[in-house]
Structure formats: C-alpha cells, structure tokens
Assembly symmetry: C2
Homo-oligomer: 261 residues x 2
C-alpha cells in the first residue's frame, strides 16, 4: 500500500477485483465474501446474480457495468473512469466479475487505469467456468495417462475468431475449455476437423453453470454446430470430456441463502 | 442420489471431493466450508494447512493421506479403500485436496473406486494454484492482444518428464502455468530453448502460494534451472508472466481466522 495520490488526511480508497465464480453463492470464496461485505461501491458485470449482490451491505452502491462477449453496453473507458473516480473518494470499491478476473476477464485494462491514477488494488481470484463445469459433469480437466496439459481458450478475440494451435488440439486425448465459443462453434468445428480431429471427439456444453437454469448437453465435434443452437445463455465448451453420470454429478451441496447472518 | 448398496435403513454415506485452494482460508469457497463443517470424516492431503482443518467439527476424524508429487506416502489403493469403507458406514466423508481436485488432483481414480462400490459423491471445485499465483503477482492468465489461450501443464507424468507441445509454447506471448515443475525445470528449459523460445521469456516462480512463507521469484527461461534451486516447497511456475508490482499485488484481504463463529 505505498501509492497515495490524495492528501493523507483523506481516507485511502481501494479497489478489490473480485472473481465471483460462475453464479452460485456456494462458489464464492470467503475472501470474496469479506470484500463484498466491506464494500462501499460495487461495480459488477451483467452476469453477477442477485443472490451474490444481496451479500453487500444495504447502503453500498451497486452499479452494473454490463459487458457481453461481443461488447455492446458499457465501454471499457467508462468502467475505468468509474473505478478511478469512486476509489478517489476514499471508497472501498469492489469490481466484481463473473468467474475469475484473470481468465478472459479483461482485468489488465482496469488495473492500468488504477496504476495511472496511483490507486491501490488487490485481486481476489475466483472459480473460473471451466473448473466448475468439469466438476459438475464429474470429470477432471487433467488425468494421468490421458492428458498432461489442459488449455483454456477463447472462441474469439480482438481480431475476430481466435486462431489457436489446432494441430495439437486435434490430437487424441486433448482437453480444452472453450470460452465464448457459441458464435464461433462452426469455425472451431471446421478448424479442428481440418486438422484431423476425430469427429466423435466428445464436447460437453455447459450453459448457465451453477445457476437454476443450468443446462448440460453431451455433444461431439461432428454435432457441435447444431447442438450449440440449443443454448441461449453463457456457456463453456468442454472439449474432450463427456459427462460421467449426469444425475449423480449434479448432486451438489445445497446453495446457501443465509451466509450473511 | 440413485446408488444404494446398503439397506435403506442404514444412513447413506456420501463423499464430497473438496478442492481447498492453495492454502489460505480466504481462498476456500463457501460450499467447501459448508462441506467441511458437516463432515464426519476428513481424508486430507499433506498440503492442507491446520487453519483449514480447524474448520472441521471437533468430533470429526481427520486422517492425513499424504501424497507428494513424486509419490512416496499413502498408496492410491489405500486412499480408495479408506474412502469406500468410511462412506459405507454412512459417514459424510470429505476428501480434501489442495487446489482444485480436477487439475492434477488424481480425482478419477478415487471416483472410480466409489462408482465401483455404488457410493454417491459430489465434486466441489477449488481455486487451483495457477489462478491464485497469477492474481498474487497482479497479472492475468489471458490478455487481449497477447494470448487467446492459457495452458496448465505438468512437469512430469506417469511416464517421467512430461512431453508437451513445445513448439507452440515456445512462441512469443504464450502463457502457461507449470505444475510440479521443480524437478523438471532443466528439462523444460532445454525443450523450450531447443524449440526456439526467447531465453528472456519471463517465468515467475510462486512457492507456498497464499501461505505465510510464500515466496515469489521473478526469473526467466535462461535462469530458470538456477533460480529454481532457491525453492523448497510446492511451487507453480508462471511461464510468460512477470510480477506486475510485487508489493502492491501482495496486498490481500486479511486472512480470516474466525470464519467458524
């Protein structure tokens, strides 16, 4: 905490970047809960649900700064300006993102804005979609004898559809979690088949992970472009994995509604 | 919950696979906390710290089933047998692993033992080392314009040193988290350099993540084999990332000692 741009008599503002996990309160960390409970201002993404927002103090200001995969809604520059202006008032600011801020969370642009303004921050990691989705279908992302690495990749980036190392992904036994893959499903399918992937390679689509409207579709590379049309919400694609036993794996510890007490 | 191998009059045992995160209590999820608080028996890895074990009920049996990267200690078959025998008594069993069970956690072997015994289970995901390490050094694992994918890989697997797709890892802008990379550091270094990686590629070593004895070393590919000798505890190697501003990034929400109350 060595950065001060305001006189020492003014309270020091602080920004906690909080990864809130994919949705359910049970996936929030204790550190994230503590930060939310101590917040004066919360800037949150569209995907953060009401159960998590309800954990904030009643007098905290909660501001949605929606941002979707294909980027309508709040411009990044506006989010940056909000972070800086609120922290400058001395507020404890929570910048809450779905999943983990460090994985396809556009964290750096916001940190750079704080650094430019000499404002202090900390990052509280959260559960990313891939981790929760794999647990939900009863599978591991890595497995001895099958895959010694797992990749998290995005279906699109600033340049459009994201090019990946298709040749190595097309090999047998590879596992990858594909984020923002809905609109690029046909592209992904084409690239992987072109590089020799087995059309029967399992792909599990997990939509609205850990939410009441969660949907799991056991698909494969050949059927991907069709099966993905059934999805309307945010989803992660687990390439190389199929659900172990859907019903059993879906059994979870009951979601807690009263952690606040 | 459709699997019963015992008469319906006997209480139904259940196994929660709990990813406990890398060490600090603040990185535990609320779901994990709830499972721990409801446990009759806890089977835990060597890396689980006393602060987390202290969250269990006083009358719960806590059994260490230590397992290190290079595999001395409790054989897998013994762990499997303990899981099955405790669950068969009707106990709520927590199988607690450091990090996330689904990432280099050898989860599948234990699940298969439960399936063979028709015992029910659920997986509660946890924060894996890579996610927490990146947050700790103030960096993102993915960044627009730099990398559209991130890899988690292991330095060794059943066959010895793990072969990876070195050619694509050697390209500029790649980011990977390397688990169990201490003993294989010289091998990794050799492979990456042989495939054309820049010797100045940043590698940050994060040891004992989130624990009191955490150590962060900003290294690079050229110095890796030497710098790694300074480590004695479990570590993750962040390939392609350097600490943003060590002091600032290290500022975290205070670790909570009293979540039990």
């Amino acid at each position: 905490m060595t950065h001060f741009s305001t006189p020492a008599t003014k309270p020091q503002g602080f920004v906690h970047f909080v990864g809130a996990g994919p949705g359910a309160v049970q996936h929030l960390t204790l550190g994230a809960l503590r930060a939310i409970q101590g917040a004066d201002v919360i800037l949150y993404d569209r995907l953060i649900g009401p159960e998590i927002l309800a954990l904030a103090p009643k007098n905290a200001a909660a501001i949605e700064v929606g941002k979707t995969g294909f980027g309508t809604s709040t411009p990044q520059a506006v989010i940056n300006a909000l972070l800086v202006s609120h922290a400058r008032t001395g507020a404890q600011v929570v910048r809450m993102k779905a999943g983990d801020s460090g994985i396809f969370g556009r964290l750096d642009e916001e940190i750079e804005a704080l650094e430019a303004a000499s404002l202090p921050f900390a990052i509280l990691p959260g559960l990313t979609a891939a981790t929760v989705a794999a647990a939900t279908i009863g599978q591991s992302l890595t497995k001895r004898g099958r895959n010694a690495s797992v990749r998290f990749l995005t279906g699109h980036d600033v340049a459009g559809y994201a090019e990946q190392d298709w040749r190595s992904l097309a090999k047998a036994g590879q596992v990858a979690a594909i984020y923002m893959g809905k609109k690029s499903a046909r592209f992904l399918q084409g690239r992987l088949l072109m590089h020799g992937a087995n059309p029967q390679t399992a792909i599990t689509l997990v939509e609205n992970i850990s939410r009441a409207d969660q949907q799991i579709i056991a698909s494969n590379l050949e059927r991907l472009a069709e099966d993905i049309l059934a999805l309307t919400g945010p989803a992660v694609l687990l390439y190389g994995l199929k659900p172990r036993q859907a019903q059993q794996a879906l059994a979870q510890v009951p979601i807690m509604a009263e952690v606040r007490a």
